[in-house]
Structure formats: structure tokens, C-alpha cells
């Protein structure tokens, strides 16, 4: 696993990464609060602890590339450039939401950002990512489709079918496995015969690597290399080793793991470690952090205000967007 501790980092860039991780963290903390207050309903899956994965990875993609994500995708959407207000309005079920209140937390879409969900069937996004990449290939476009999924998806047939097809047709898909060790409440070694996810790629002749998903710089570097490989010749599987600090969803009593395990991982948290490292290197002052926090707080307040000012779609419009073309 590559590590970047001690490697030089440019200050502006480092602060941008830190800022993005803090944005995701604070946004989700606000979501949890609003969930408890009954403003957000349905399922809400928090990404807290895994921020370095989305921030590092999306940083390494270009605006023309596509992103396919899972139901734990608020962070990916935010750093991909989905407007925070529209994101929050979606969770409020408002017409101003990025999916007009039709998707909610699990189905964030933004065509302009080439953000294709928000897929809540484990493994269901992988074939779609293969198809997006196929469309690029057939139309002669040099773009990457980055497909995020959890290690739970690796047990699904769609993972294997998709890796095979992408490799067979040499399609530009970057498979990004966020391995947070638990498929809901089932630990990886209790559900998979091979717990090194990246090792699965060899069976499909797909190049692969594993990276510390708690280290934002390592993720960024690994994704940059992986994306370059994809642009040159076909799919790549990158395993990002990470950990979810919060429960699977708001309904999860967390009976399947110990407090001490969570605490040990929290000590390795992507924000706390990156902050300490930047301080040690003299790249981060208290004032920087205060300014980031203030800026992020303002952005989130604005997002919540936007969502609160949203309008519920009239029930008379219930049937819109089932079809593009209404039947005569």
C-alpha cells in the first residue's frame, strides 16, 4: 500500500483537499442533525470517515469524466460540484432538489457534472459504468468513467460480469472499490473468500492496486495513475482501504463491531491525520482552519436555507418524468 507521509505537498493544493474533506464532513453532520429533526427522511447513509476517498479520487478526474456512485454518495456529489443547496433540497424532497425530490439521499444525479447517481442496488452501477465507457469508446471520446462501489458489491455477480466485459472490450472504466470492511453489518472476512479486493482483478487481466483510503494524497496520486492507465488502455481496479465511523444508516444499532475498533480507526481519520501532518509541515495555521470552518459553515447554512425555502412539487405533477415522451 502506498503511503505519502513526509512527501512534499503544495500548500494551496493541500488546503483545498482539506477544505473539501471538511465540507463533506460538516455537510453530513448537518444531514444527521436534520434527520434527527425529521427534516430528512428515508434512508440516510453517512460517509463520515471515508472522505479522503471521494476527495482524493474526484480531484484526480477531469470535468469531462463521468462518475457513477452508490447510495452513500453525498460526499462524491459535493466534491464533484453538485450544488450543495440543490443537494440538500433533494434530501428535503423539494422540487429544487437536484432530482426534483424524486430520488432523495440515495439518488443524487447531476447530468451537468456527469454525475450518474446515486445507485442503491449494491453492484447495480457497475454495468451502467461499463455502458457509459462503451459509449465514449464508440464515439471516439477520451474520457474516463469512474465507478465507486463498496467491497460488498464484490460479492455480487454484476461485479464479475462488469469487470470481465470491461476488460474484454478494453473500456475506459476506473473501478474504485471503497473497502470499508463491512457490507452493512457483515465483515468482509465473513462474506468473501478473498479479502484482498484488488487481487480479484488478476482473474480478468485488469491492472489493480490498493491504497490507504484514509490518506487523501495517496488516494489522489493512486487515482491519477489509475486514470492515466485507463485513458491509455482499458479498465483498472483500485481498492481504497477505508472505514465508516458512523452506523450503516440511521437505523443501525451497530451490534456487529466494537467501540474500540471504531475508536482505533477514528485515530486514523482522514481529516485528523491530514490536519496534523500539515501542521507538522508548517503548512497549516489555526487561522487557516478557522477560515475553512467558517467558509464551510456559511456554505452549509446557505444550503440548508435554500432547502428550507424550497417548494414541494405539486402532487398533480406526480406522474412527470416517468417517460420522456408522454403517451398519446
Amino acid at each position: 500500500m502506498s503511503a505519502t507521509a513526509g512527501a512534499p505537498v503544495e500548500r494551496t493544493h493541500a488546503l483545498a483537499l482539506l477544505r473539501d474533506m471538511i465540507r463533506v464532513r460538516r455537510f453530513e453532520e448537518k444531514c444527521a442533525e436534520l434527520y434527527s429533526a425529521g427534516r430528512i427522511r428515508g434512508f440516510l447513509h453517512l460517509y463520515i470517515g471515508e472522505e479522503a476517498c471521494a476527495v482524493g479520487a474526484v480531484q484526480a478526474l477531469g470535468p469531462e469524466d463521468a462518475v457513477v456512485a452508490t447510495y452513500r454518495e453525498h460526499g462524491h456529489a459535493l466534491v464533484r460540484g453538485v450544488d450543495p443547496g440543490r443537494l440538500m433540497a433533494e434530501m428535503f424532497g423539494m422540487r429544487e432538489g437536484c432530482s426534483r425530490g424524486r430520488g432523495g439521499s440515495m439518488h443524487i444525479f447531476d447530468a451537468a457534472a456527469r454525475f450518474y447517481g446515486g445507485n442503491a442496488i449494491v453492484g447495480g452501477g457497475l454495468p451502467v459504468a461499463v455502458g457509459l465507457a462503451l459509449a465514449d469508446r464508440m464515439q471516439g471520446r477520451q474520457r474516463v468513467t469512474a465507478c465507486f462501489f463498496g467491497e460488498g458489491a464484490v460479492a455480487e455477480g454484476e461485479f464479475h460480469e462488469s469487470l470481465n466485459l470491461a476488460a474484454l472490450w478494453k473500456l475506459p472504466v476506473l473501478f474504485l472499490c471503497e473497502n470499508n470492511l463491512y457490507a452493512m453489518g457483515t465483515r468482509i472476512d465473513l462474506s468473501q473468500s478473498q479479502t484482498d479486493v484488488h487481487a480479484r482483478a488478476a482473474g480478468y487481466r485488469i491492472p489493480a492496486a490498493v491504497v490507504d483510503g484514509m490518506d487523501v494524497l495517496a488516494v489522489e496520486r493512486a487515482v491519477r495513475e489509475a486514470a492515466a492507465s485507463v485513458r491509455e488502455g482499458g479498465p483498472y481496479l483500485l481498492e481504497l482501504r477505508t472505514y465508516r465511523f458512523r452506523a450503516h444508516s440511521m437505523f443501525d444499532p451497530e451490534l456487529y463491531r466494537s467501540k474500540s475498533e471504531v475508536i482505533a480507526w477514528m485515530a486514523r481519520g482522514p481529516i485528523v491525520t491530514f490536519t496534523a501532518r500539515l501542521r507538522a509541515q508548517g503548512l497549516l495555521e489555526d487561522a487557516d482552519l478557522e477560515s475553512i470552518e467558517a467558509e464551510v459553515a456559511r456554505e452549509i447554512d446557505e444550503a440548508v436555507a435554500f432547502a428550507e425555502a424550497g417548494t414541494p412539487e405539486p402532487a398533480a405533477d406526480l406522474l412527470r418524468d416517468v417517460y420522456v415522451e408522454a403517451a398519446p
Binding site: 432538489g97 444525479f109 447530468a111 461499463v130 454484476e158
Partner: protein, 331 residues
């Protein structure tokens, strides 16, 4: 006297529709199991690989979920894919993609993303292929909002439904009853696109309305000929599209004949025939002279033995018998 026109088979009509679509639109491509080198499991795409090359006639692995999902993604990415699933039986392996993605993405994304995808598949029983290769699930797929379901039952529709389906911005599932591939008819030289949302009256009649689709159309027309000998004139309606359903054509006929017989190769319980029956009750109850009647597949996994399979499926004789009793038993 005009020269006799050559007959075209249902299979050839589909192939011609595919060829024309590929020629006219570079975004169109075909993918599925054995569509290329093998020529298609039912020989529909025979010769197209040589004509269009492996980039546009794509043989896929036996990975229904992946290649249907890839069709969805490619459609989202600006292509106009035609995915062939060898038979409806195997479509169950891709049900997640069809139902959870193709049917939902447009709505779930608030209208931002659409899936202009055509999925073709063979359907139906009648060839002694036993339970796992004899499903008729088109009525079941018609349950799903977000999909359009078409069932070409004639050579003309085999030729004309594909271009319309490709022009449609929504996912369209096209069910080709496997017993129809050898059906032949004369096609006009300018045969082309037809609508995909209207039912068609295939035979005019005054005594009762027989409402059917797909592989059962021919059986209903045969039954109508049998009935005509007894002076019973059946109007035969081919639904053509199972979603959306053309209520207007059905109701117009039923209001006139005052009797409705539904013929459906799907199982009776929860069938498309049940849905049409309900719509007739809701909208034309007081116009009826008799309860709506149904001839459906028996509630059994389709058996192998010929006589058992025949007994499980609607047949011209059972359709005619149901029609006679519908006409005789009520005033």
C-alpha cells in the same frame, strides 16, 4: 396485372429493420449473445456482422446483467443501443438492470437522464422446450412504469416497430414470439416505421371482441374462422403495445359487440388479461351482455410432453369454445 410480390418472413423483416437502423444512424448498434458470428440464436442478425463489423454487431459474454446494464449506460452516454436478450427466460438475469435502472433512472434523476434503449427478446412456448425455456413474461414486464412494451404479431410490425422504438427516448422492450419468426407475408416495398402505441383491429366482427397480442394473434384468427362457420363473427384486436395500453380501441369494440374474450399466453393469475378485464369493467360494465371471459395459459410450469404443453396453452379450439359459450350462455 402486377407481378407477384415476394413474401418476407418475420425474421427477415426484423433483420431489414435492423439493417436500415444501422445504416441510418451511426449511434445504433446491436449487442447480445451470439448476435454476430453465430448470426443470432433465431438467425435474425445473420449477415449483419459481415456488413457492419464487430464494433456495431457485438457478441457478448453470457452476462445478461452486464450487457443490459451496458446498454443502459451506453444509451445514457448518447448511443442508441439495441440489446438482444436471447429469450425472455434469460432476461430474469438482467431484471435488476431493467427494473431498477432502465425503468427508474429518468424519474429518479428528476428528468435529467434518459435511457433511449431498445431491448429485443424472444418469448413464448409451443416448441417443447419445457419450463425454463417457455415463459411468456411480457405481461409481467408491462406492470412496470417507465418501460414501454411492444409485441409485434405481424410481419409488418416486425418491420416497422423497431425504427419507432429507436426513435423513442424511453426504454422499449420488444417481445418477439419465437413461433412467429417463420411467419410470412407480403410487404410493400416502402414498408417502414409504424406506431407503437395503438391496438389494431385484425378482423372485423359484430358478435364478440377477442382481444389478444403476440403469438396468440394467429390462434385467435384461426379460431375466428372456425366460429364464422357457425355464424359467429369475432372481431379480433391485436393490442400491439402492452404498455401503454390502447384502452380506446378495446372499449370501442367491446361497446359495440358487448362481449369480450381475452386471450393471453401468460398465466391467468395477475395476467395482462386480468388488467384488461378490469379496465373493461371500469369503463364499459353497463355495455356488456356477458361477463368478460379469458383463455390464458394453465397455471403450471410449461411441461415438455407435446400433448401436455398443448393442453397448457391457448389453442384455436379452446379459444373458439370459450367464444361459443360466451355467446350462448348470456343474452
Amino acid at each position: 396485372m402486377s407481378p407477384a410480390r415476394a413474401k418476407t418472413s418475420y425474421r427477415e423483416a426484423l433483420r431489414e429493420a435492423l439493417r436500415e437502423a444501422m445504416q441510418e444512424d451511426p449511434r445504433v448498434f446491436l449487442m447480445g449473445e451470439d448476435v454476430g458470428r453465430y448470426g443470432g440464436s433465431y438467425a435474425v442478425s445473420k449477415g449483419l456482422l459481415e456488413e457492419f463489423g464487430p464494433d456495431r454487431i457485438r457478441d457478448t459474454p453470457l452476462s445478461e446483467s452486464a450487457f443490459v446494464g451496458a446498454g443502459i449506460g451506453a444509451a445514457m452516454g448518447g448511443m442508441r443501443p439495441i440489446v438482444e436478450i436471447m429469450t425472455v427466460n434469460f432476461s430474469l438475469l438482467a431484471l435488476d438492470q431493467i427494473m431498477n435502472n432502465a425503468a427508474t433512472v429518468h424519474h429518479m434523476s428528476g428528468g435529467q437522464v434518459s435511457v433511449p434503449l431498445v431491448i429485443r427478446m424472444a418469448t413464448g412456448a409451443g416448441r417443447q422446450l419445457a419450463a425454463q425455456h417457455s415463459h411468456s413474461l411480457e405481461g409481467w414486464y408491462a406492470h412496470i412504469p417507465g418501460l414501454r412494451i411492444v409485441t409485434p404479431a405481424t410481419v409488418e410490425d416486425a418491420r416497422g416497430m423497431l425504427p419507432t422504438a429507436l426513435a423513442c427516448p424511453d426504454p422499449v422492450l420488444m417481445f418477439e414470439n419465437a413461433l412467429l419468426y417463420n411467419l410470412e407475408a407480403e410487404l410493400p416495398p416502402d414498408a417502414g416505421a409504424v406506431d407503437i402505441d395503438r391496438a389494431a383491429v385484425r378482423r372485423d366482427g359484430e358478435t364478440l371482441s377477442v382481444i389478444t397480442y403476440g403469438g396468440s394473434l394467429g390462434k385467435c384468427l384461426t379460431a375466428a374462422d372456425l366460429l364464422a362457420r357457425d355464424g359467429i363473427e369475432a372481431e379480433v384486436i391485436d393490442l400491439r403495445s402492452l404498455r401503454p395500453l390502447d384502452d380506446a380501441t378495446v372499449l370501442q369494440s367491446v361497446r359495440r359487440t358487448r362481449r369480450a374474450l381475452l386471450v393471453d399466453e401468460g398465466w391467468r393469475s395477475g395476467s395482462l388479461a386480468a388488467e384488461i378485464s378490469a379496465r373493461i369493467m371500469e369503463q364499459a360494465f353497463y355495455d356488456l351482455d356477458a361477463p368478460v371471459a379469458r383463455v390464458c395459459a394453465a397455471e403450471v410450469p410449461i411441461p415438455y410432453a407435446r400433448h401436455l404443453e398443448e393442453a397448457a396453452l391457448p389453442q384455436p379450439e379452446t379459444i373458439a369454445a370459450a367464444a361459443r359459450s360466451l355467446v350462448a350462455e348470456h343474452v
